[in-house]
């Protein structure tokens, strides 16, 4: 009896294996064709500065081998397992109502508490100097992207306007803070709202001409505007010093009471009688960007419930219906652009204060793409998802700098930083193919009858911009 059952199964398994083998061979051929020139041969300059070819057939074999093995494992084991799981899920048609665990229910609260106790935690475990890297490279860096992601979410996730030039407003914020702070000596706390306002103005200026465009056209024009602003920053050397950038941007003070400049009489180490260290400033910046990011989240949550927020979401779902219900789409789009740009401006002035140096190099299209990727991978509209995506994508690439043990495996010439953006690009593709709706693929309805029910993202529509 047992044999009778298992025989066809065995057969299926073996045909599975041969099929997978055939697929692996095809994949190997394609990979060989793709990589034979670009990997198998390397162009190098010799002493006379002429290009010569260096042969690397071993590396090519590794590439092709990895492709074949990967495809074989996927076709023979992963795909059947996935199909089985899908079939099982389809069989259990009525989903059970699972009581959400405590952790899941209070995830946001716990995450915020963790973020607030993160610096003291790191300082106590790693000491003052050891914590610098974690607070600065990881904490501040990720939080900047979280804030940018939440800002862009207003434009892309709520209003459904695809913006590929978001970094332009970030640049406006950064340059307005640095120029005004250097030439007029104004403090960060005055210039923060000024930078936000200026960026919002630019949002309106750039938003106004493109109001009639939708979808991909809008994306490409915003990309063009982003590039124009960057090119102006490069070429308007009288004001922006071009590619040299602006350096010596003043630090942020704690509302003028405590300073982080060693020469200042109110230097924090003197005021509190602490040992001298650069970490205090980083920890202060960490809390500053954390608060700014939380304000962004708070504002966008509250705006969603206001008439303008509902208008944004209506616009995303259906622009024609929106217009026929008497919503002024011009104003709605412009407010979305301006609000999103304002938060980018805030983040930009923070960025300038943190770096102490700005140059057009920091505002390339890649940054816009990274922020947009974070928003989309996070699930478009879900604040938690965007934060998770930022941690995964930015933290993941930052952690690559730390993997010194790879040098032991691949030899001392191996520099993991070189592979950072390559892996970032691959991760974008893989995550998108694996989870097209992002990490958190559900939306909380703003308008509901009696009780809220989470809407699966597959039921929601995104507008045409």
């Amino acid at each position: 009896m047992a044999e009778a059952v298992s025989a066809p199964r065995m057969e299926a398994r073996s045909s599975n294996i041969t099929g997978a083998f055939r697929e692996a061979v095809y994949t190997g051929l394609v990979a060989l064709g793709m990589f034979v020139l670009l990997v198998g041969l390397k162009t190098d300059q010799n002493i006379r500065n002429e290009l010569i070819l260096v042969q690397r057939w071993g590396l090519l074999a590794v590439f092709v081998g990895v492709a074949m093995v990967g495809r074989f494992v996927f076709a023979a084991f992963v795909r059947p397992a996935l199909a089985k799981r899908r079939a099982a899920r389809a069989a259990a048609a009525v989903p059970e109502i699972v009581q959400e665990s405590f952790l899941k229910k209070n995830f946001n609260l716990l995450a915020i508490i963790f973020l607030f106790i993160f610096p003291p935690l790191v300082v106590t475990t790693l000491g003052l100097q050891g914590s610098l890297k974690w607070v600065d490279n990881f904490g501040i860096q990720i939080l900047i992207y979280v804030m940018l992601g939440w800002g862009l979410n207003i434009v892309v996730g709520l209003a459904g306007l695809l913006d590929l030039g978001y970094v332009a407003f970030y640049a406006v914020g950064a340059y307005s803070y640095s120029l005004l702070a250097i030439h007029f000596g104004w403090s960060f706390w005055i210039l923060l709202p000024v930078a936000g306002l200026l960026a919002a103005c630019w949002g309106v200026i750039l938003g106004f001409p493109v109001l009639r465009l939708r979808g991909d056209y809008l994306a490409i024009v915003t990309l063009a505007f982003g590039e124009i602003i960057r090119l102006v920053l490069i070429n308007w050397t009288a004001v922006t010093k071009g590619t040299f950038g602006i350096s010596g941007i003043p630090k942020v003070t704690f509302f003028g009471l405590i300073s982080f400049d060693v020469s200042d009489p109110n230097y924090i180490a003197k005021v509190f009688d602490l040992p001298m260290s650069g970490v205090y400033y980083k920890i202060f910046l960490y809390y500053l960007i954390l608060c700014m990011a939380l304000v962004t989240a708070f504002v966008s949550i509250r705006l969603r419930r206001m008439p303008v927020g509902r208008a944004w979401e209506a616009l995303r779902e259906d622009e024609i219906a929106c217009r026929s219900l008497g919503i002024n789409t011009t104003n709605t789009k412009l407010t979305a652009f301006a609000t999103g740009a304002m938060f980018a401006g805030f983040a930009g002035s923070f960025f300038a204060a943190r770096q102490g140096f700005v140059s057009p190099e920091s505002f390339v299209f890649l940054e816009s793409a990274v922020v947009l990727a974070i928003v989309v991978l996070g699930g478009m509209g879900s604040l938690t998802g965007i934060a998770v995506a930022a941690v995964v994508m930015i933290g993941g690439t930052e952690i690559l700098r730390e993997l010194s043990f790879l040098k032991v495996i691949f030899g001392p010439d191996f520099t993991p930083e070189l592979y950072r953006m390559l892996l970032f690009g691959l991760a974008m593709v893989i995550v998108m193919v694996w989870k097209p709706r992002g990490f958190v693929g559900s939306r909380e309805p703003t308008a509901f009858l009696k009780e809220k029910k989470a809407v699966s993202a597959s039921f929601t529509k995104e507008g045409h911009g």
């Binding site: 670009l38 162009t43 024009v221 592979y419 690009g425 974008m428 593709v429 998108m432």
Partner: protein, 300 residues
Amino acid sequence: MQYFIQQLINGLTLGSIYGLIAIGYTMVYGIIGMINFAHGDVFMVGAFISLIVFLILASLFGGVHVVLFLLIMMAVAIVMTGLWNWAIERVAYRPLRGSFRLAPLITAIGMSITLSNFVQVTQGPRNKPIPPLIHGDFAIDGVTISLKQVIIGVVTVVLLAIFWYVVNRTPLGRAQRACEQDRKMAALLGIDVDRTISITFIMGAALAGVAGTLFLMYYGVVVFSDGFVPGVKAFTAAVLGGIGSIPGAVVGGVLIGVIESLWSAYFSIDYKDVAAFSVLAIVLIFMPSGLMGRPEVEKV
């Protein structure tokens, strides 16, 4: 006047290269409605492939046989970039067909980042110069046309003729046009939509591969980051000509090339990209369907 004509010719040359890249954008957009953001980087990969082929040939034959070299470089570039774009479509775009609109755009941006960094990692980050392939120019009434420019013009025209024939006169082209109009209906009528889309990607990439070879021949240098700016400008050209329209892509490419070189000749070379992008914005604002595109009709 001579100066003007000289710049016009330079612009036409540049514009032919943009036009060849733009066709890839416009065809893919026409058939599946996505911006294939990685197309500019496919062009860069094509330039690199022809660079490597050139080095192989130079070391095999010693001297430089121009015509033979160019033909082999183009042929290999066509095959290889076609294979690359086919694989990219298979891996990154096909699983997301029917998903929401932003998903393929994000994978395309991811692919663009991946391709340029892949080339940077495998081939090194430095500029790759080659010795000038072709010498000689013609002087007519004070205007010099280099042999390179003539070759670029001839190759572009020949390719466009072949391309026009394929799209308008063959069953394959008919299938492509059918898929462009209505994918579901085309499938119902027995057209293998997946295959047609794959072939569209391969055709676009082949033109980008040739553009890469011509780019390498014209400038004599290529670097891993060369895909982005020509890519964006070619997309600008496609939009300017009316996206989805193949003659439009060529006209748009030539216009962008001419505007760029006239702008750098008469105004400021630093702001030439600003000029190209401003043209894009102005055209889209006042003529959203481009020069030769069909106006978008909204059905409710």
